[in-house]
Each structure stands twice: as structure tokens, then as C-alpha cells.
């Protein structure tokens, strides 16, 4: 177990310097270079053509839709689209790589020089510089057999399924990120989450981290702080942490690496340039392969493929179709909904912005939508240990709000109706009907109950008639009790005063 330095102390001594490589699997119908289905669940080695298997004689052909998706993503990242981009071969031997080269874009990516605005939980806005976004192909899937852990170490043999081979990827590479300081872990999480929002908004990827649709490799190094007036210390040696497959892990892995590297450096040690593997279970990283001169990928332009030269018309068409950037959208919504900073922060942190948008679209007021989602629904989700979005739909919430607004339900009744909806009893209206939860709005029934209450309490009746209107409270309480709470208290009060004068002496 590696020695870790206290996080705050590490930040006092060192400045964290970050960099991310995020791989996005595009949700095209077919693969990057073959017409095999872009789907890799199911029976091994069935979604493959000679191309994906790297059979002798087979040749790649670029999926035009993948190119369009990559351009859209590049534009959404604020990148310039290269007038000419090219595929190259990255040569290295590995059993999951059928041809023993990966077709990727090395020197000439389709998109370059962009930036992404990221909002941190503390409200800080951060601009992450994007170096490039390039197209490439995924590799097959290895299963290691015979080792104790199912990991590569100690395995007797490995099995290869090439269904994933050739799945289209866009790799987004940031420039070096300075200035994150103590927010580095949160920035990492917010960055990946923003990328996820962008690709989901574009509709170009499922972006499910747990399924590997979105994978993040996190580069981190520490730079020793120097006293003011002195020149800055040189950049430290970086490590690249792989296998980080949840937003929470991204944050934890960065924090862990900062603390680990700080402890080593503080004791006069050196950081090895290497890949490190994140272990979700233990919350640690472990050393992987050191970078060496064996990493000579012998890149050269892929002779089987031709340059990609997107027309201005295509780029403008795709630009016009771009959805709003997440950060801009957030700012717009906050203003439109008239939320305070705190209210909006709260909503963002709950991860339920899209649900509120959809609920408002279905007719609810923003305030009510926010109140229900971040209140009762989030509480129930928390108690049940599930995702709030799995409990109810935005439409159901909007219907519930409408029932409150038109006086059919009180807040208290509405909570009971929500409980019924969550229990799967149907739409809010169906729950109201089935459970008989609606506010009694039939004056006849109310008058009967009021008359009975007044007549059973003649002293109270007398006081009301004397003008001591506050005495009506006792009658109202009795009526509400008789109506099992399903009455509008204000209406009851109105009727009580009316009946007190109307009743015969």
C-alpha cells in the first residue's frame, strides 16, 4: 500500500498539473472501417467481417456517419475542423489488435484547438483547453483465464473476442491543464461529466462509463511550488491512470495520485513515467507498464485510406445543428427559471437538470418541478438507494403538479399520490381515483359536515354570530377531521362563516 500525503499538505507543497484523454464510442450503426454492426454484446466473434478480423487481403473503408459525428463533436468542443485530416497506422503488437496496427489520426486530427467550459460544484467556472479530437478504431476484448484475480497477471491464457474491434472512437485530448489547484479532482469529474453531457446532447454516443462507451485516461504530475520571486519549478514526471470507469472514480483517482506522488516527492523520491491502473474496489492505483523506447509506433499515413476533406457546407450544416453547450444552457436555464445561485447549484449537484427541463416542458412551473425532484423524489430515491430518474417520469411529475395547481390535491395529498405513482399504481390521476385522495370540493358534502359541527357546538356558533370569527377554528378542525383531510381548509372556513349566519337559531 502506497504512502499517501495529506491532501491539503500536498497542495501546499505542489501544484497539480493535469491532462485527460477521453475515448468516446460513437453510436453509429456500423463500425469505423467495416459494415459489421456496431454492437459488441452477445455471442463472441459474431459481429465481425474479414476487415475487423484483420484477415489477409481485407481493406478498411471509412464510415461517413462516424466522420460527421466526429466533426459535430469537434465543433461542440469549440475546435477548428481540419481542412484536411488523414488516417495513419499506429503499429504495435497486441492480441486484441487484429491487424497489429491501430488506424488512428496521428499528425492530422479532424478537430483541433478548442476548449470546454466546465462548472465546478463550488460554482467556479473553468475553461479546459482541448488540443485535439481524432477518429480511431477500438480493439477487441481480452478475457484472462487461469489467474486468481481474472487479471492479466498470473493468467494462464487469454481469450479474444473481436466483436468490439473496429468500433468507432473519437479520442479527445486536452492540452496541459494548469491552475486547477485544490479543485483538481472535482475538475476532473466535472470535465468528464461535461464531455458526457456534450456527446449525449449530440446524440452520438450512449456515453455509459460503466459500459466503456466513455473511457478516461487521466494524466497527472506535480510541480513543486517555489517561493515568490523565484522562477517556477519545471514540470514533474507524469503518470497516466487508466481504467477509470465512473465519474466518482475519476475524482478519487486524481486525489489519490496527488497524495501518492506528493508523498514520494516529499521524501526525495522520483515519479516513474508509467501507466497506472485504477482499482475501484480498493480505491488505489497500481503500477503498470513503464513508458520506454519500445513505444516506437512507426506511424505512417494509412495507404489504404484517403484524406478527409470536409466541405465548408458540411461543416456549417453540422454547426447549425449543434445543441447548446452545457455551460451556456445552464446559464440560460438559471435566468429563465429565475432560480437563485443556491437553488440552481442544488439542482446541478442533484444531477436532475434534464428532469426539471422535461417536467417544465410538460407544463409544470420551474419552481414546482425543482421542488418535487430535489425534494420528495430525491429523498425517496436516496432512501431506496436508486436513481431518482428510475422512480417517476417528468410527465408524471408535471401531472402531479397540475393536480395541486387546480386544487384537486393539497401538498400533503400530493405526497401520498407520488408514493402511489412510485409504487406503480399508475398515473397521478389513476392513483387519486383509486385511493380516493382528491380534495372534497362538493359544497353539499361540506355544508352537511359544517352544519353538523356547528349544531353540536352551540357555544361556538354563538361566538361566531357575536362576531368572534376566530372561534371558527374549532369547527374547521372538526370538519377537516370528518373529511379525512381531503378538504380545502380555506373553503371550509368560508362556508363555516356563511352557515353560521344562515343556520336557524
Amino acid at each position: 500500500m502506497a504512502k499517501l500525503m495529506d491532501y491539503d499538505r500536498a497542495l501546499e507543497l505542489f501544484e497539480p498539473v493535469l491532462g485527460f484523454e477521453v475515448h468516446i464510442e460513437l453510436s453509429t450503426k456500423t463500425k469505423m472501417f467495416s459494415d459489421a454492426p456496431n454492437y459488441f454484446g452477445g455471442e463472441p466473434n459474431t459481429n465481425i467481417t474479414p476487415v475487423d478480423l484483420g484477415l489477409p487481403g481485407s481493406l478498411p473503408v471509412v464510415n461517413g456517419q462516424a466522420v460527421r459525428y466526429a466533426i459535430s463533436l469537434g465543433l461542440a468542443l469549440g475546435c477548428s475542423i481540419a481542412p484536411t485530416s488523414r488516417f495513419a497506422r499506429k503499429n504495435y503488437f497486441y492480441p486484441d489488435l487484429a491487424k497489429n496496427y491501430q488506424i488512428s489520426q496521428s499528425d492530422e486530427p479532424i478537430a483541433f484547438a478548442g476548449s470546454v467550459e466546465v462548472e465546478l460544484p463550488n460554482g467556479r467556472m473553468f475553461t479546459v483547453p482541448i488540443e485535439r479530437a481524432h477518429m480511431e478504431e477500438d480493439a477487441g476484448k481480452l478475457t484472462h483465464v487461469g489467474g486468481a484475480t481474472g487479471r492479466i497477471q498470473g493468467a494462464e491464457y487469454s481469450l479474444v473476442d473481436y466483436n468490439r474491434a473496429g468500433v468507432p472512437l473519437v479520442e479527445i485530448v486536452t492540452d496541459i491543464i494548469y491552475g486547477a489547484e485544490a479543485d483538481a479532482p472535482e475538475l476532473a469529474k466535472a470535465y468528464v461529466s461535461t464531455i458526457r453531457d456534450i456527446v449525449v446532447g449530440l446524440g452520438i454516443s450512449e456515453a455509459r462509463m460503466e459500459r466503456g462507451n466513455l473511457r478516461c485516461d487521466a494524466n497527472i504530475s506535480l510541480r513543486r511550488r517555489t517561493p515568490e520571486g523565484e522562477p517556477p519549478a519545471p514540470l514533474g514526471t507524469r503518470t497516466e491512470t487508466k481504467n477509470v470507469n465512473s465519474l466518482r472514480s475519476v475524482e478519487r483517482a486524481i486525489r489519490y495520485e496527488i497524495q501518492r506522488q506528493a508523498a514520494i516527492l516529499d521524501e526525495g523520491g522520483t515519479i516513474t513515467q508509467e501507466t497506472r491502473h485504477w482499482h475501484e474496489d480498493t480505491g488505489e492505483t497500481s503500477a503498470g507498464r513503464p513508458k520506454s523506447d519500445a513505444d516506437d509506433y512507426r506511424y505512417f499515413p494509412e495507404p489504404d485510406l484517403l484524406p478527409v476533406v470536409p466541405s465548408d457546407e458540411l461543416i456549417e450544416e453540422l454547426r447549425a445543428a449543434l445543441p447548446e453547450a452545457p455551460a451556456i444552457r445552464r446559464r440560460r436555464l438559471k435566468a429563465e427559471w429565475n432560480f437563485t445561485d443556491l437553488e440552481f447549484q442544488d439542482l446541478t449537484n442533484s444531477g436532475l437538470v434534464n428532469e426539471v427541463i422535461d417536467t417544465v416542458a410538460a407544463g409544470a412551473s420551474p419552481a414546482a418541478a425543482r421542488k418535487w425532484w430535489t425534494g420528495e423524489i430525491a429523498r425517496t430515491a436516496n432512501a431506496q438507494g436508486v436513481d431518482a430518474t428510475t422512480l417517476v417520469t417528468p410527465l408524471q411529475v408535471a401531472q402531479l403538479v397540475a393536480l395541486v395547481d387546480d386544487g384537486t390535491l393539497t401538498d400533503r395529498l400530493a405526497r401520498q399520490v407520488l408514493e402511489g405513482v412510485i409504487a406503480g399504481e399508475g398515473t397521478p390521476q389513476q392513483v387519486v381515483d383509486a385511493r380516493g385522495l382528491a380534495v372534497v370540493s362538493d359544497d353539499g358534502a361540506l355544508i352537511a359536515a359544517i352544519d353538523e359541527a356547528l349544531q353540536s357546538q352551540p357555544d361556538v356558533l354563538a361566538k361566531i354570530r357575536d362576531g368572534k370569527v376566530q372561534a371558527a377554528g374549532a369547527v374547521i378542525g372538526a370538519v377537516m377531521k370528518a373529511m379525512k383531510g381531503q378538504a380545502d381548509a380555506a373553503r371550509v372556513r368560508e362556508l363555516v362563516l356563511e352557515r353560521a349566519t344562515a343556520l336557524p337559531e
Binding site: L55, P56, G57, S58, L59, A98, D293, R298
Partner: protein, 511 residues
């Protein structure tokens, strides 16, 4: 005796088949018999598909009898260079590493041959992965030149050229990366054409160098090559480098052959020094005949040709080193487990050590070097620039000439074993053919006669601008007619009759 059928051209066979004079089974059987008679001496084939060939032939005969409208070449037998992936026939590319591999798919050219009803006789021998000019680098032993069994049949497509020259097949498919169709044609007295790059699909041709490889026809007559080219050519969406051009009928170009007014540019750099006198003699004679028929002979310069071989021997091995990485013992082919076990890396390294021959390993290492960190710009990068210079030279030359001409190779067939110890001298032999591959332009080699000093065939090469393959068929057919008129016979009618010399065949292992 059915043996006569093997002396017919593909065109003549097609005519007899269409007329019902012969059946495809008869034509196929005649060629299988010929193969059985001469293969011991020639060794042109790595796989003879007797059963499937006869079955395919019988199917064509049945369909013809049923009145089905068939392609004009339906039922004509053909030989396939083993670089081409064939469903149901083993495909090795001349390498031990692929021994016994039966591909699960057909190359596009195979799909086209099958659709036209051509009958595949089998797979022809070649230098391993098409790396060579002599077919001596085949892992399965060399092919022998039917004109002189102790000599090379050229390479890498020595098997296809020898099969055609030895009347084992009327025509064949070849592939040409630096001359592998044209140089074997030159040394065997046959015709071979490398199409414009992108003119014929590369899908299913086991890649040597992707930016240089082209599949093309090999035959005894210019018309037969054109007929075959008409079948295999055209756009293929499975090959990104495939041209979308609508091609004219090449057979039509042969039938309309006329050189009157045609400007023929003699390449200054591809004659003289290093070119055998007998080769130059036949070359000049051919030019004189063409001039007599109305062609205008001029001289053109291609100054960058001097660097073409250097550029080629960087680009080709660089691309090859990457293309051949897929032979790793995981998904197909040979696996060698090192003594005492080892990791998958060790298994891959042992497999590639044992599965590849010396020339393949040499070129992989050379190509790996040319691409490796720190050397890329100087070697691969510079070679790509030379390629630009060669293209510019051709563009300038074609401004003054409709076609260019040179001997196809500096010498006639050399002896088996003569150059295997000196790779560089073998490489230099490709001087005349390589420039066309670098520039992507089409080139054809046609027989020009026999060299006086050794009685061996000599070829003449014509080059045309990209997409002008039809021009080559025209000029080649015109020359063929002029020469045959002069000789009073075809060149191949003068080749030794191997069926009688079969017993004296050079022992394969003796070379």
C-alpha cells in the same frame, strides 16, 4: 486428343464454348491433363483444384445447355496467383506462415471471375508475399521457366506467367507491386498488364505494399489480357482506393488497334548501360516496326528514375512491415510455440521467425527501420517526395508522348540461384518496371522476340498516363500483330514442348 485445347487462346476457347463445339469440362480437363504432364518440370501451381474446377465447368455446361445467357468467357479455365484470397481454395501468398489457410471470403476479383463463370484451375506459385523477381523466394520451391527449366520464370508472379507460357492455363491473374506481372511476362514470352492504380480492386489481394499493389491479367495474347481486364476491372466500394471511372472496353481497344500518328516516347534512362545487347536489339526492332506502321518515335527524359529504386525499396518494405504484422499466430495460419513455453510475445516472435522466409524478414526489418523513430523523415518521408518527382517527370513526358516505351527488364531470364545471395542486384533488376508503380500509371509487357545470344524471350514495356490503359492495349496489340506477321507464328509456339522433356525436368531440390 483434348491436348490441342490447351494451345487455344482464351478468346478462341470462349468462341468454341459459345458455339457448343466443346464443353467447359473438356476444356478444363485438357488443362488439368496438361498440368499433370508438365507440373513436375515447371511447378507453376501451389494448389490444383481439379475437383472444384471440373464441378464449376460442369455447372457452366449445364447452364449453357439450359439456354442461360452466359458471359462470353463463361467456362474458360483460369489460374489464380496465390496472393488472391479464394473461398474454398487454400491461399498462402507463397508463405509457410499461411500454409493450409482456406479463407472464409473471396477477393473482389474472384467474385467477378465466378460471376462471369470462369473456371478456377488452382493457385499459382509466387515469391513469398510477392517479394521477389524470381519466384525463388516461394516457401514451396521455385517455379521453372518453361523456355529453360534452369532459369527463373520472373517474379513475384512466376507461377502465373509460367502456367500460361507452359499452356497449363490460357490466362491467369497476377499482381504487380514493382513489376511482378510485367517482368515475368518479359522472361516467359507472355503478355502482362499492370492496370492504373485503382483500376482493379485490391480487396482480397494479400497486401505487399498497399500504395503500389495492383492486380492484373497475364496471358499469351494481348486480346486475352484485355478480355480478362474487362471482367476484373471497375469500381469496388470495398477498396477505398478503387477508382469510380467508367472504363472503356479493353477488348474493343485491342480490336481497334492502330498506331498511326501515335507518339511513342522512348525513355532515355531505361536503355544502354546494364541492358543486355539482345534485349536492346529486339527493342529497337520493335520500335522500327511501330514507326513503319505510322507511329512517331521520340525520346523523353525521366531524370528522377535514377532514384526510383531507392524510393521503392523504402516505401515497399515500410508498407510491407506493417501489412505483414497481422501474421501473428492468433487468428489464422501458423503458430510456433517456443521450447519451454513463453508469453504470447514469444509465441508471435517464434512464429514469425519460422514462418517467414529470409527475404520477407529482410524486408520487414528494412521497413521497420525506415519507419522507426528518428528515421521516418529521412527515409520514408524522402521516398514519398521522390514519388512526387517521378510523377512530375511522367507528367512532363506525357505532354510530348501518348505512350512511353522501354525494355521491360535489363536482361533475359537469369539462372535459378544466380542472384539469391545478392539481394541488392536482384532489386536493381526492377529498374524499368518500378517507376509505373510509384506513379500509379498503367504498364504492359508484350513479347518482342528472342535475344540472339541466349534464345530467351524479351519483352517490351509500354506505359500510359493514369486511366489510359486502353492506349496500352492498342499499341501492344498493334505490335503483337506486326511481330507475328513478321515471324509467321506466335512467339510461344517456339517454346520447348515440355510434355516430352518432362522426364528430364530439373529436380526441384537441386536449385
Amino acid at each position: 486428343m483434348t491436348n490441342d485445347l490447351t494451345r487455344l487462346t482464351a478468346d478462341a476457347l470462349a468462341t468454341k464454348l459459345a458455339a457448343g463445339d466443346i464443353s467447359s469440362v473438356e476444356a478444363t480437363q485438357a488443362h488439368l491433363d496438361r498440368i499433370a504432364a508438365v507440373e513436375g518440370a515447371v511447378h507453376a501451381f501451389l494448389h490444383v483444384a481439379s475437383d472444384s474446377a471440373l464441378a464449376e465447368a460442369a455447372d457452366i455446361d449445364r447452364r449453357r445447355a439450359a439456354g442461360e445467357q452466359l458471359h462470353p468467357l463463361a467456362g474458360v479455365p483460369i489460374a489464380i496467383k496465390d496472393v488472391i484470397v479464394t473461398k474454398g481454395m487454400p491461399t498462402t501468398s507463397g508463405s509457410k506462415i499461411l500454409e493450409g489457410w482456406v479463407p472464409p471470403y473471396d477477393a473482389t476479383v474472384m467474385t467477378k471471375l465466378r460471376a462471369a463463370g470462369l473456371v478456377s484451375l488452382g493457385k499459382t506459385n509466387m515469391d513469398e508475399f510477392a517479394m521477389g523477381s524470381s519466384t525463388e523466394h516461394s516457401a514451396y520451391g521455385p517455379t521453372h521457366n518453361p523456355w529453360d527449366l534452369e532459369r527463373i520464370p520472373g517474379g513475384s508472379g512466376g507461377g502465373s506467367a509460367a502456367a500460361v507460357a507452359a499452356f497449363e492455363a490460357p490466362f491467369a491473374l497476377g499482381s504487380d507491386t514493382g513489376g511482378s506481372i510485367r517482368q515475368p511476362a518479359h522472361v516467359t514470352g507472355t503478355v502482362g498488364l499492370k492496370p492504373t492504380y485503382g483500376g482493379v480492386s485490391r480487396y482480397g489481394a494479400i497486401a505487399l505494399a498497399s500504395s503500389l499493389d495492383q492486380i492484373g491479367p497475364v496471358s499469351r495474347t494481348v486480346l486475352d489480357s484485355a478480355l480478362l481486364h474487362d471482367v476484373i476491372g471497375g469500381h469496388d466500394p470495398r477498396d477505398s482506393t478503387s477508382l469510380t471511372d467508367v472504363w472503356p472496353s479493353f477488348a474493343e481497344a485491342v480490336r481497334n488497334a492502330d498506331v498511326a500518328g501515335l507518339r511513342i516516347g522512348v525513355i532515355k534512362e531505361l536503355q544502354g548501360d546494364g541492358f543486355q545487347p539482345g534485349v536492346m536489339e529486339r527493342f529497337r526492332e520493335a520500335l522500327a516496326l511501330l514507326e513503319g506502321a505510322g507511329a512517331i518515335i521520340t525520346e523523353v527524359e525521366l531524370p528522377s528514375v535514377e532514384h526510383a529504386i531507392a524510393a521503392y525499396y523504402l516505401i515497399m518494405p515500410a508498407e510491407a512491415s506493417s501489412n505483414l504484422a497481422k501474421f501473428d499466430s492468433v487468428r489464422f495460419g501458423l503458430r510456433v510455440n517456443p521450447k519451454g513455453g513463453g508469453t504470447v510475445e514469444d509465441v508471435m516472435s517464434a512464429t514469425r521467425e519460422q514462418g517467414f522466409g529470409a527475404e520477407t524478414k529482410r524486408r520487414i526489418i528494412l521497413g521497420t527501420y525506415a519507419l522507426s523513430a528518428g528515421y521516418y523523415d529521412a527515409y520514408y518521408g524522402s521516398a514519398q517526395k521522390v514519388r512526387t518527382l517521378v510523377q512530375r517527370d511522367f507528367a512532363a513526358a506525357f505532354a510530348n508522348a501518348d505512350v512511353l516505351v522501354s525494355p521491360t527488364a535489363p536482361t533475359t531470364a537469369f539462372k535459378l540461384g544466380e542472384k539469391t545471395g545478392d539481394p541488392l542486384s536482384m532489386y536493381l533488376n526492377d529498374i524499368a518496371t518500378i517507376p509505373a508503380n510509384l506513379a500509379g500509371i498503367p504498364g504492359i509487357s508484350v513479347p518482342a522476340g528472342l535475344a540472339a545470344e541466349d534464345g530467351l524471350p524479351v519483352g517490351i514495356q509500354f506505359l500510359a498516363p493514369a486511366r489510359e490503359d486502353a492506349r496500352l492495349y492498342g499499341v501492344a496489340a498493334a505490335l503483337e500483330a506486326l511481330l507475328e506477321e513478321k515471324w509467321g507464328h506466335t512467339l510461344l509456339s517456339q517454346a520447348p514442348d515440355l510434355s516430352s522433356s518432362e522426364m528430364n525436368a530439373t529436380d526441384e531440390g537441386a536449385v
